[in-house]
Symmetry: C2
């Protein structure tokens, strides 16, 4: 045979940091999003689906002097004659598009505008294990209301949503804090240097990990890390650090106690007092709605990184225990977060438009439900009608059509029918519950052979047919009783 010229073949690979989702994974996410949309809808929120692509200008994360503005986003320039086309980018979250949508359509939208959105977002970041560059978010926001009742509503809805998708009450908690209280604390400390402020905020964010003494060290001279590295401190005196520690440790046994501690921590700061008042209002509203601190709690240790929050911030944590990489128990952690951001729409319109919202990390929540065994998606494959005689495809097609018309998931084997073993292997790989066989004898007798693959698998597992002797693994049925007998067997299997 003549040597063929080798041609360069393309690699069959997802780009780095992207992945494919198969079968049950897709169905589980779709179903979870459907349930969440139901709760959001019941709360009066309306669906919004904007395009994946926005102008870089509208996303607004980029400096005008950067040549290729794809820091953190996937961006490209539109072709035009003068090489002067718009820069476009894939959205990196669902909040920036919402600000653009509200600014663009504000004359047609009701105010306040309650909207929810669910879909993929893209981040041009270095991928890592379990860290993908495309992932789902599921957001709900209220635009155009400065009332903390809007924030309280979002928190209540978040609690209802977690329960609706299958997280038991007691296995989650929604924690609330308020940026204004934090600003009050910084004011009381007399910090004027912005860098120092930022360092204090970063330290507060570590409270969860390093605890009170760790925070004291980090606010002061510094601290020896668990890894042995020395972390420089912010350089405050003990007296200066005191309000921060008081703030972080202000959570008491009940809401009234926590609020009293916060009032003490913010001293005579006006903005701090406003923040405490807002927390008090939210607590009152939530209590009136029946949401006690077993579900939604004021917790001053919640900070949330994003710079754009201006008032209440919230975070939903799943509190049940899992094991970490090293087998140590820890709580599952955060699955959703959000807060009030009053300046995002202003970028477009010049007018301040108050807004507040939440974003659920869909994949984290799915992982949690998976761990709790709460994803009961049906992974049963189709009934497989095997092909004993390739010239009789029409007969097999008739069988499968009858089953499908009766609502039963079914298919004819469409591979090469030569090896019957391969057909059964295929049925096994598809997780099929039943194989149907009709050779020449059965055709003549007007019957079908029915093979119970679930029972077959059980027998294979225990290596003993005796305990299943009452139930035959394969049996014959009249062709005319196809649908009723298959239905009955499927019911039996599902018991």
């Amino acid at each position: 045979m003549a040597k063929q010229k080798k041609t360069q073949r393309p690699k069959a690979q997802t780009p780095k940091g992207f992945r494919d989702y198969f079968g049950a994974e897709v169905a589980q996410r779709t179903e979870m999003l459907r349930v969440i949309a139901g709760v959001y809808h019941r709360y009066g929120f309306e669906a919004l689906e904007s395009a994946a692509v926005e102008t870089v200008e509208a996303l607004g994360k980029f400096l005008p002097d950067v040549d290729r503005p794809n820091e953190g986003v996937f961006a490209w320039q539109e072709e035009d004659e003068n090489d002067n086309g718009d820069w476009l980018a894939l959205r990196y979250d669902l909040t920036a598009p919402l600000a653009r949508v509200f600014a663009q359509h504000r004359n047609d939208l009701p105010t306040p505008y309650r909207r929810f959105a669910m879909g993929p977002v893209w981040r041009n970041e270095k991928p890592g294990p379990g860290r993908f560059r495309q992932f789902y978010q599921c957001d709900a926001d209220t635009v155009g209301s400065g009332n903390v009742a809007a924030d309280a509503e979002i928190c209540a809805m978040l609690a209802d949503t977690l329960e609706a998708v299958g997280i038991d009450r007691g296995d989650y908690v929604v924690r609330i804090n308020n940026r204004k209280v934090l600003n009050g604390v910084l004011e009381v400390m007399g910090l004027s240097d912005d860098d120092q402020k930022a360092n204090v905020l970063r330290t507060i964010d570590k409270f969860d990990k390093v605890g009170e003494s760790g925070v004291r060290e980090l606010l002061g001279k510094g601290r020896l890390d668990a890894s042995g590295a020395y972390i420089d401190g912010v350089g405050l005196s003990d007296a200066q650090a005191e309000p921060v520690v008081a703030f972080l440790t202000s959570k008491a046994d009940n809401t009234a106690g926590t609020l009293a501690n916060l009032r003490a921590a913010i001293g005579d700061s006006e903005v701090g007092a406003k923040g405490v008042e807002e927390l008090q209002s939210m607590a009152d509203l939530l209590a009136a709605g029946g949401y006690g601190p077993d579900r939604i709690v004021i917790d001053p240790s919640v900070v949330r990184g994003l710079g754009y929050y201006t008032g209440p911030v919230f975070e939903a944590e799943l509190t049940f225990e899992i094991k970490d990489d090293k087998g140590r128990p820890r709580s599952f952690g955060s699955v959703a977060g959000g807060g009030r951001y009053d300046d995002l729409v202003k970028r477009f319109t010049g007018q301040e438009v108050p807004a507040t919202g939440i974003s659920i990390g869909v994949d984290r929540l799915l992982a949690a439900l998976h761990m709790k065994g709460r994803l009961d998606t049906d992974t049963t494959g189709p009934v497989v009608v095997t092909v004993m005689d390739k010239h009789r495809m029409a007969d097999y097609q008739a069988i499968v059509s009858e089953l499908r018309n009766a609502g039963i998931r079914a298919e004819v084997y469409l591979g090469n029918p030569k090896s019957f073993g391969n057909q059964l292997k295929y049925a096994d790989q598809r997780n099929s519950p039943i194989a149907i066989i009709q050779g020449g004898d059965e055709l003549e007798a007007g019957t079908l052979q029915v093979k119970d693959l679930i029972l077959g698998a059980k027998i294979a597992e225990t290596a003993s047919q005796e305990e299943w002797s009452e139930r035959p693994q394969q049996f014959e049925i009249p062709r005319a009783e196809l649908v009723e007998r298959i239905k009955a067997l499927l019911d039996e299997q599902n018991q």
Copy 2:
């Protein structure tokens, strides 16, 4: 007041050719996709969701010497040190990613692999009225089966899908043709010049518009367009053109007649005979499954543009009449198409992998259902609890929580409560069925005022309250009977 420095504000605009979808539009599409997924699943297909982003190499539409490979797609280059990163692109359909997925995961996937996928695709094309650069597709494909039973199954599934989403039997038809028959016709004609072949194919594609005599002209010397422009012909003699015309006009009153005509048209071409045989098999299989020519019909005028089809091709047309731009009646037209493509996976693996599939144009199908009045999405807004006293938000919150817990869509008005008129205007804009009012008097009496906004709208329309006198537009209920009375009124409104 001092003049403020004017800062450049970003434009709140979707990029050209992209749009936002609101409320019911999103819900209707979601629901339609859910129904379609149900049918596909019943047929044994498994969901697949690949990322929006693929390597340009895997999409494989581009010449290696093009500097920026974004002809028709949105593409960009990954950053790396040597300015030598991979080119990435947004997928332009769901078939190219399927070929990549099957090649990448073929050792873990069952063969044949039946999969469905639904989601947006992107085209970097000039947008026009109703033509967007992001739109939904909904595909089902069987990879790894060369059996035309797979093609027949796809056609049956397409018919079932159209009926499941609300297209009546009789309002659609799935037409089937076979590329091999067409190739047989070209063979019989003795055409060797590829350009001329392509011109003949293009002409065949116009049969729908210009009819038999038009095709004869276009295959010959040319034709005067309706616009007055002269269209050059392919330059065939009348005798040479005859097989094409015979092929195009071979559709008879029944399948047997059509197939006989086709056999005559392809003469002694082997590939043509193979094509007719495949059509015969499909017709037999479909008949056995109960799909008669009222639903699925062999129609030689179906060509389908895409070059990659190698065997059966199909198209679903909605046959009910609509009015075109100029008010003339025409049939709604194509909503889905597909066919067999046996070479797509080979690009990656070198091995031929037969495949066949269908793609539904989701937005076209939604538009059709909209025209037929088959989109009965509930567009009713939430019950709105108005705010008479802003210090009593907790009371209003309690009312709304009770309603939500009873499964009733409800919300508190969260805008500025100063003007009661604005609150009712908001309720109107939200299409709310009911407003609930509790001022000081009602609070004291332990009651609520209930305003029937649906009735109110009806009275406003007819400008006469008399005919509705039995049903009051506003009435008082005991606070304790909130849920049952609101439920009863909603039921009444829905009758």
